[in-house]
Amino acid sequence: QQQVKQSPQSLIVQKGGISIINCAYENTAFDYFPWYQQFPGKGPALLIAIRPDVSEKKEGRFTISFNKSAKQFSLHIMDSQPGDSATYFCAAISGTYKYIFGTGTRLKVLA
């Protein structure tokens, strides 16, 4: 119930391509779904987040698509750049405390 399942584990994309990372959850009490970006040796940093009353949110090249009925959400990175190479984590939260993180996706964008 508390898990957030994330796929794929790793992803290689050509520069300019679209990167897509998927997450699924079970707990319908989750009410906030952030995506974090983590570079080696650094802590996770918030990239974009969505609430379940919205089906899509776009910020620059980053878009979250949210399917409440399927209990799935995904991150799309348009025009992927080598600087986007990092590990991406989806997460879910209920109320105002602890995040439940996915297992992470290591993205590599080839120049």
Partner: protein, 115 residues
């Protein structure tokens, strides 16, 4: 303004020793979290403080782990009788209140290695 800071950045210790990891949250943030991140995994929740009190310590793996936040600002995660399985990156995050209050800001972590 300064972000969340954690010290030390790296800690190497021997099995059975005691360690303390420190977190300085963003000034004014009342909520503080500790997470543990094992290699290739997402962060796992350990404990959450609201002010000085531990509001949720359900993620602490056993009684060798303990955390304090005596003045509602700096927090210390304490691990007794360390084991090799405790090796991980320990992340601290803080959260403010008001609009966007769900966002947690993470520090760079302390990499703990137990030999």
């Amino acid at each position: 303004g300064a972000g969340v800071s954690q010290t030390p950045s790296n800690k190497v210790t021997e099995k059975g020793k005691y360690v303390e990891l420190r977190c300085d949250p963003i000034s004014g943030h009342t909520a503080l979290y500790w997470y543990r991140q094992s290699l290739g995994q997402g962060p796992e929740f350990l404990i959450y403080f609201q002010g000085t009190g531990a509001a949720d310590d359900s993620g602490l793996p056993n009684d060798r782990f303990f955390a304090v936040r005596p003045e509602g600002s700096v927090s210390t995660l304490k691990i007794q009788r360390t084991e090799r399985g405790d090796s991980a990156v320990y992340l601290c995050a803080s959260r403010g209140t008001g609009t966007g209050h769900n966002e947690q800001f993470f520090g760079p972590g302390t990499r703990l290695t137990v030999l």
